[in-house]
């Protein structure tokens, strides 16, 4: 009886030591990874916004499939998300919307939001510049922005966390053989919480990889901000009389 109690205590103590050591090890591992990635990230940050034609493209966008999909890195091994916003003035928005939906399907993409005044499309990153050029042909592009975010670090961090949690889980399984009921229950509780954490990390990883896998194009057929005009006084007197409001008032 005393021997069994001693074994149980030893098992619990061992478990506690492993649990304490793993997050620290994972943190150290992540810190080392971040340290390695930091100069590259700083270099990426210092770069001006890349022109659309210079957008890195994944070699094989279909590679990221299955339960634990991994986003395909670009030629430099980095995974980036691309998001472009455009204000497009067209005479007939319905017609333009239908044309764009057809084109995005041809390019292997799909619409994620279709509204009267806007359209949000997802397209493989390598097709982004082609889509933007096609959009520009449909009307007058008043504003165009391209946001590019480096997801390499975030994905590496999540992958690291996932790996360490999985290792922790498999180690815990090994303790079942030598433990009594009470210890088994504690191990089960710990394992349940680790499984929940693993699922959460998997979800975050899927979101990050989806951002790297698809470029998003947000097209607005009208100005976003309707109260954009502010009165600015000009030192040239007649210029202060040039405005749409005054024109309409005096017509």
């Amino acid at each position: 009886m005393r021997l069994q109690l001693r074994r149980t205590m030893l098992a619990v103590a061992g478990l506690a030591v492993i649990l304490a050591a793993f997050p620290a090890a994972a943190q150290q591992k992540n810190a080392a990874k971040q340290k390695q990635a930091a100069p590259a990230a700083a270099q990426q940050k210092a770069q001006p916004q890349a022109p659309i034609s210079a957008v890195p493209t994944p070699a094989d966008p279909d590679a990221a499939k299955g339960g634990e999909e991994t986003a395909t890195p670009d030629a430099t091994g980095r995974r980036t998300s691309l998001e472009s916003r455009l204000i497009l003035k067209v005479i007939n928005p319905d017609e333009a919307r239908a044309t764009l939906e057809k084109k995005v399907a041809e390019l292997g993409g799909f619409p994620i939001l279709v509204e009267d005044a806007s359209l949000v499309l997802k397209v493989p990153p390598e097709k982004l510049s082609e889509l933007i050029a096609f959009i520009a042909e449909q009307g007058l592009v008043l504003e165009k922005t391209l946001e590019r975010a480096d997801l390499t670090q975030e994905i590496a961090r999540l992958e690291g966390q996932l790996k360490s949690k999985k290792e922790m889980l498999s180690r815990l399984r090994g303790f079942f053989d030598d433990s009594n009921t009470e210890a088994t229950l504690r191990i089960e509780q710990t394992m349940t919480s680790i499984v929940a954490e693993i699922e959460q990390i998997k979800g975050q990883l899927r979101v990050a990889e989806d951002r790297a896998k698809w470029a998003v194009v947000d097209i607005a057929f009208q100005f976003h901000e309707r109260d954009k005009i502010v009165y600015v006084s000009s030192p040239f007197e007649w210029l202060n009389s040039v405005s749409l409001d005054r024109f309409l008032e005096e017509f």
């Binding site: 007939n92 007058l140 100005f223 954009k228 600015v232 210029l239 040039v242 749409l244």
Partner: protein, 157 residues
């Protein structure tokens, strides 16, 4: 008799000035097909059935400057106010060889996006502005005929 001459002269000049101000605006332009002119108005005003408007007016060329200067100043001023310039400014010569530039701006107005077009002629001490405005979709339909008509615009008869 000698005293009445200056009075009569003054009255004559005043009457001539009044007549001049009552007369038609001192501009000419070939009629764009979709536009109708306000014939009775003392101002030079045109409009389409769906409400695209055109008007000409004069302002002082002060401080006196050339066309390029004013087009640049106007574009900067409009953009500073939040207008979006619609394409590049277009400089050209009218059919009678007068130099002019057109700049178009866009802005949200009510529930629609509107276009405001400004064409500048520098004529001695004056700047003649040919202004046109309308909702984007309706303006786009008459844009070409408007440009062709402005190419025939003459600030003085």
């Amino acid at each position: 008799m000698a005293r009445s001459f200056p009075i009569a002269f003054t009255v004559l000049v005043a009457a001539a000035a009044a007549l001049a101000s009552c007369g038609p605006p001192p501009y000419s332009m070939s009629s764009p097909a979709s536009f109708k002119r306000f014939e009775e108005s003392r101002e030079f005003k045109w409009i389409t059935a769906d409400g695209v408007m055109l008007k000409a007016r004069e302002v002082d060329n002060y401080p006196e400057a050339a066309l390029d200067f004013w087009v640049d100043a106007m574009s900067r001023h409009m953009i500073a106010q939040g207008y979006v310039q619609k394409g590049e400014q277009r400089c050209f010569s009218t059919k009678r060889g007068r130099k002019t530039c057109t700049a178009e701006f866009m802005l949200p107005h009510g529930a629609e996006d509107w276009v405001l077009s400004e064409t500048l002629f520098v004529v001695d001490d004056d700047i003649v502005l040919v202004e046109a405005a309308g909702p984007f979709d309706r303006y786009a339909l008459v844009e070409t005929e408007l440009q062709k008509a402005i190419e025939t615009f003459e600030p003085r008869d």
